[in-house]
C-alpha cells in the first residue's frame, strides 16, 4: 500500500492537513465558546455534567498530550485524568447527558486530529475501530 511514490502524496498534503485542522479547531472553539457564553448569560441552563471514560487510538506521548490539551481548550470539556496503559482519557463534559454520545463527539475530534497530525493520515480500519479493548 505504501510504495515509494506513496510517500510523496502525504508529504504534499501534510502541511495542508495541519492548517485545515487548525482552522477546524478554531471554528469549534468559537462555536463552543458561544454556546457556553449563552448558557452563562441566560437564566435557564442546559447544564448536564458527567465524567466519561474515553479509550484512545492515540499511541505516542505527543498524540495523547495534544489531544488532552485540545479537549481542555474546547469550552465545555475538560480532561481530568490521563492513563497510559491502555491509553485512556477521563473527560468532564458540561453538556453531556449521555456518555456514549459524548464519547462519539470526542472520537470525531480525535479522528480529525490523527488524520492531520500523522504523516500518513489514518486508514479506514483505524478510523472505524473503537479504540483499544477494555482490559
Amino acid at each position: 500500500m505504501r510504495t515509494a511514490r506513496g510517500a510523496l502524496v502525504p508529504a504534499l498534503t501534510w502541511p495542508v492537513r495541519l492548517v485545515w485542522f487548525a482552522l477546524y479547531f478554531a471554528r469549534e472553539m468559537i462555536t463552543a465558546n458561544a454556546a457556553l457564553t449563552w448558557d452563562i448569560l441566560t437564566p435557564s441552563s442546559r447544564l448536564a455534567p458527567g465524567i466519561a471514560r474515553f479509550p484512545l487510538r492515540c499511541r505516542t506521548r505527543f498524540e495523547i498530550a495534544l489531544l488532552a490539551n485540545l479537549i481542555s481548550l474546547t469550552p465545555g470539556t475538560l480532561t481530568l485524568a490521563v492513563r497510559r496503559e491502555p491509553p485512556t482519557l477521563y473527560v468532564h463534559g458540561m453538556y453531556a447527558p449521555d456518555p456514549d454520545r459524548f464519547r462519539e463527539r470526542l472520537r470525531a475530534l480525535e479522528s480529525r486530529m490523527l488524520a492531520a497530525v500523522r504523516f500518513h493520515g489514518i486508514d479506514a480500519e483505524a478510523a472505524e475501530g473503537g479504540g483499544h479493548e477494555r482490559a
Partner: protein, 112 residues
Amino acid sequence: MNALEAMSWACMGLGVWLIAVAAVGYVRLPDPYSRLNAVTKASALGLVLVLVGAWMAEPGWLEAVEVLLAIWLLLTTAPVGGYAIGRALHRSGVPLGPRAGYDELHEDRRGE
C-alpha cells in the same frame, strides 16, 4: 480611523467581553468543574483576542513574532493548568454538582 484600527478595537472589545463573561460564569455556574471550565477557556480565548487586537494597533514583523509566541505559550499552558486543578478537585472528592449523570473516573478508581 482606518479599517485595521477598527478591527483592533473590535478584537480587544470582544476579548474583554469574553473575560467578563467568564467572570460572570465563575459566579453563576453551580459546581467547581464547570466554573473551572468557564474561567480557563473563555479567558484564554479572550486573552488571545486582546493580543491580536493589540498587534493590529501596532502591526509589524517583530510584533507578530512576539504576539504569536505569547499566544502559543497561552494555548499550551492554560489547558495544563486547568487539567492540574481539575485533577486535584476530583482527587479531593469534590462532587460533580446538581444534575450530574455519571462519573466513570470514580467507578474506575474504586476498582483499584
